[in-house]
Assembly symmetry: C2
Homo-oligomer: 314 residues x 2
């Protein structure tokens, strides 16, 4: 058994295709095929089975893929930990964040950490809710910045920061804002009926914000027409263009609200008060460089002019 065989098999398991796995790994298709065959022979158990044109994992294959993925993640972590042990400031921190956090919350912190530890290696993977927790539980990242972690899985929140979800609409929408002269309009208070008749722009399934929006509709007892758009940027610009309204993290529209391009709507239960959570695995120590990153994250004054993260006490 070989590590590259494991890597090849994991890629096959994830993509569900030898061809795609080969493309991702930048090798030829037979190379991957041979690796999987060799691994399967070594284990004495078929890991994949042909399924028509493509293939599918066997039961043993699914089980083994989970383990293999953990093995590789753990090994990657080990590399970082070993390198970081002598010089934490030259080690590596592997982050994953949900889209909004990755695009609007994290950048100033990344910059601050970079300035303080220019030799540290940083990786940030941005994905939706499902993706980031998957990465954390398979040990492919050290820390996740996102909404509340799922109850299943051994996660431990280490820091939080307020995340206010607001309903925003285009500036010119509805009656004139109460203080049209000011650059920054005051939030407008609206009724449930007003919310119910608008078109709502929502994220793709699997997104945490989409889930929260659906909860909101249920709480309000409304089922407005919705339009699904795959990114926060697309939604923000579409709201600006008058396509509809949306529920979105205030962090993602802070600039537009300040400049008056969008306006906030208040209503029953709105805005929603949530938190950003910085989450690690419960059962193990943080890698040295990741711990260093966390220190910076929760240090007062690291990022001026924004709300700060706070360490979660046990």
């Amino acid at each position: 058994m070989t590590l590259s065989q494991l890597r090849a098999f994991v890629e096959v398991a994830v993509t569900g295709s030898v061809r795609q796995a080969a493309a991702h790994l930048l090798v030829s298709q037979p190379a991957v095929s041979a690796a999987v065959t060799a691994l399967s022979r070594d284990l004495g158990v078929p890991l994949v089975a042909r399924d028509g044109r493509g293939l599918e994992l066997t039961a043993a294959g699914r089980v083994f893929a989970g383990y293999a993925r953990q093995v590789l993640g753990l090994l990657d972590e080990a590399r970082g930990a070993a390198a970081g042990q002598l010089h934490p400031e030259r080690g590596r921190v592997r982050l994953a964040a949900v889209t909004t956090a990755g695009e609007h919350v994290l950048p100033p912190y990344l910059a601050a950490f970079r300035a303080r530890c220019p030799e540290a290696e940083m990786t940030l993977e941005v994905g939706n809710r499902n993706r980031v927790w998957e990465l954390l539980s398979y040990r492919e990242v050290d820390l996740v910045i996102g909404g509340r972690p799922p109850a299943a899985g051994r996660f431990a929140t280490v820091a939080t920061r307020a995340n206010r979800l607001v309903v925003v609409a285009p500036r010119s929408d509805g009656p004139e804002p109460t203080n049209a002269e000011a650059e920054r309009p005051l939030p407008r208070t609206v009724t449930v009926a007003e919310l119910a008749e608008r078109v709502w722009l929502v994220r793709e399934p699997g997104s945490g914000t989409r889930g929260t929006a659906e909860e909101l509709f249920e709480d309000l007892g409304i089922s407005p027409p919705t339009l699904t758009l795959g990114s926060n940027g697309a939604i923000r610009e579409s709201v600006r263009a008058g396509l509809g309204v949306t529920l979105i993290s205030r962090d993602a529209v802070a600039r537009e609200l300040r400049l008056g391009a969008l306006e906030e709507w208040r209503g029953p239960g709105l805005p929603l008060e949530r938190s950003w959570h910085v989450v690690g695995r419960a059962d193990e120590e943080l890698a040295p460089t990741a711990a260093l990153f966390l220190e910076r994250l929760v240090s007062p004054g690291v990022v001026a002019g924004t709300e700060q993260f706070h360490r979660v006490e046990d």
Copy 2:
């Protein structure tokens, strides 16, 4: 990086010596040396440093060794899980037990499981308390049979069985037993003073029974002369030979008590009621074959004529 490099390094870390590691791995000394060098170069961090005649791990080496050990354990587990997925009865279960459990409690269950699943592979490592929990936490075994697991570490007890620790003395010791005619003498009740003046045979440091004996001395407020012997068998035979008395699991001296070769002493708080615990890791599912073993372990009637294990309900 290569798996065999990891194996070589882990062996060096455990034994603390290239030479011994080579002996364990059945290869020449330079082979191990080269593997460690290659690994160290690959990681970009020295893992070992020469220390006079021998060598010692660097800080990074110690950290990496822990990870590497887990990686290999996890991989081993993955093998078993994959093989066991299709045919649990042909898979593998990796056990570790403390000495007493391994020698006196487990054998009938091993035999019963073997009879039921003759194709399953079984490994049993017998060691003292410290050793078995180490094996479990590094994923080198699936289940441990021993005393109570340490509070630190993510362990979950899955089954228990009574473990009565009794004080035993040679048959002819002290005044005549109350029913000298019967083959099996009744337990004799003694005072603390009588216990305090005897020589006590105790196990080596690291043994759970030794720890319990020390607790007993403290509870009774006595500090009798002790003699340390490295195995239960040595202790049992020494007691028989009149060397002193000892605290020992009833399971380890059941035959001698029945035959009248030893006699049990009752006293304040004696016998001590403890439990054997069958323990797995809290954060993951049991491998299929290990689960099968557990089923047999707790099935009524599997082992006739002895006290049975009982599943622990959550």
